[in-house]
Symmetry: C2
Subunit: 304 residues, 2 copies
């Protein structure tokens, strides 16, 4: 059992009411691995520039079981994002996006990654690339993709093709509404649930998460937090924690009970993610910290 994850590796400059950080390690693949590694260290596929240092690469190595698929492009810089969060963390305002090496990302999943049963996670990239990677992995037991408003609006046909090549999607409520025109998330999920889908994960931020299986729904509130430091990567952390749970259990049939436990686990890991800048929120915690917060969450949200 294993996870193969494809996504961005970046430097982020972030500011929020809690402070700011310059050029810290970020990117969807980084956040995904950081969260997944508590249960299942993924095999990474990504691209970086020459400015990507040993310290950063060591972090990725620590959080993965292989970085064979991480390419360093000569003469290029790494993906760079600069932005800030408005008060209350209502929205992220982008100040600078420099794709750099990521603009030339042409992911190839190493053959060594395709052994055993494995889950494929396609972080938010162009749907065209997502389709190509999905086709490289016909034997994957579960293929999930994340996407965003930009692709929904600019390349809707490519996105439908990508949907046709995966087993499920992980999106947020705004993206679900944009895709379907529906504000009722349950109706939206029904419209989005293609016949071959196994799962749709709808993230609702501070309002929790809904997961739709073939014939069930799982719905959970968020873990209540009063102090948020940096929500960057919370969604990828949720995805990483969720899929690592599924992978660790090996329940590729995705029973309601497994999916619910995975969603509880991911809710708690993601709640840690937002309590530090960049990867710090999760990097410092242990499985014990997660278990303790799950116990607290049980008192808050689970019932007889």
């Amino acid at each position: 059992m294993a996870i193969v994850a494809v996504g961005s590796i970046a430097f982020d400059s972030v500011a929020s009411t809690a402070g700011k950080r310059e050029r810290i390690l970020g990117g969807s693949l980084t956040h995904f691995s950081n969260a997944a590694s508590l249960k299942s260290k993924p095999r990474l596929v990504g691209v970086v520039g020459e400015d990507f240092g040993d310290m950063e690469m060591d972090f990725l190595k620590k959080k993965s079981s292989s970085v064979e698929g991480v390419e360093m492009l000569k003469g290029e810089k790494s993906f760079f994002w600069k932005g800030h969060y408005t008060e209350n963390f209502d929205s992220a305002v982008t100040e600078i996006t420099e794709l750099n090496a990521f603009a030339k990302f042409n992911p190839v999943v190493p053959e060594s990654y395709k052994t055993d049963d494995y889950i494929l996670f396609l972080a938010n990239i162009s749907p065209d690339i997502q389709t190509r990677v999905a086709k490289q992995c016909p034997n994957s037991k579960l293929k999930m993709l994340d996407t965003m408003n930009y692709w929904i609006e600019s390349t809707p046909d490519d996105l439908q093709t990508a949907f046709a090549n995966v087993d499920g999607i992980i999106i947020n409520e705004g993206e679900a509404e944009l895709l379907t025109g529906e504000k009722n998330l349950i109706i939206a999920a029904k419209k989005l649930f293609l016949p071959h889908f196994k799962l749709i994960i709808l993230k609702k931020g501070s309002n929790g998460v809904m997961v739709f299986g073939k014939n069930y729904i799982v719905s959970l509130p968020a873990f209540p937090l009063t102090e948020i430091i940096d929500p960057t990567g919370a969604g990828d952390s949720f995805a990483g924690a969720f899929l690592s749970y599924i992978d660790a259990v090996g329940d590729y049939d995705l029973s309601q009970e497994t999916v619910k436990q995975a969603a509880v686990y991911a809710t708690i890991v993601a709640s840690h993610a937002v309590q530090g800048f960049g990867v710090e929120g999760i990097d410092g915690i242990t499985t014990d910290d997660v278990e303790k917060r799950i116990d607290e969450f049980r008192k808050i949200a689970s019932f007889e």
Copy 2:
């Protein structure tokens, strides 16, 4: 053990994407009693006009243990509201509000209502009246009030006085933000939680509910529904079901476990409320129907 409830009794003309109804029985007291009566028939305090018929009064009698406190004002009509819901039930648009008899509402809680241990529920009325009624009931074991934007904006000082005379409040997330300026509902609830409070209930519509006790939080998602008919009175139905559960259990100390079970029960009763026009959604169901849906909710939202 008993509940004393004070609020409006009205005729509503309602339209939604599901259809429309003219002059159906409504009002906060009506919806509260309709829901509460499944577990604990409340003692009612309200006012109606001469147009209030036997059929309507029989409904209130059926859903209560006493209507001694319901006054019929000669020469007056009953409270009348006409409105419609926008698509997706995002907002209620008021077309007509005629207070009629309700404008002269001067509630007096009958002495016969003040026997046994009892809970006092003050539905959304002027905070001035809420304070007067709370003072009539010094021996109530638990006094809860509901309010709305209008009173928060127009009589904030009176509202604070009312807060000082009750043990807790039931409001929605918009009202919590309006009262505190805080979008983070947990911070808002902490700001609102007066030293003498026992409970704050924050309703979030399709995103569920959070309940804050002296040293705990309960948070639940909503029961997932694809078909809503009429959300009028959903909040009062939640309050009625919640308080009837507390009353039936008799746990006036409000342990986290009791409050959580009460919130689960009220979530399910309120989910039935919105599936019919006016009182129809709940009027037709049995305790068995509620239990069955709680079982379903457990699979969706409760975890090990």
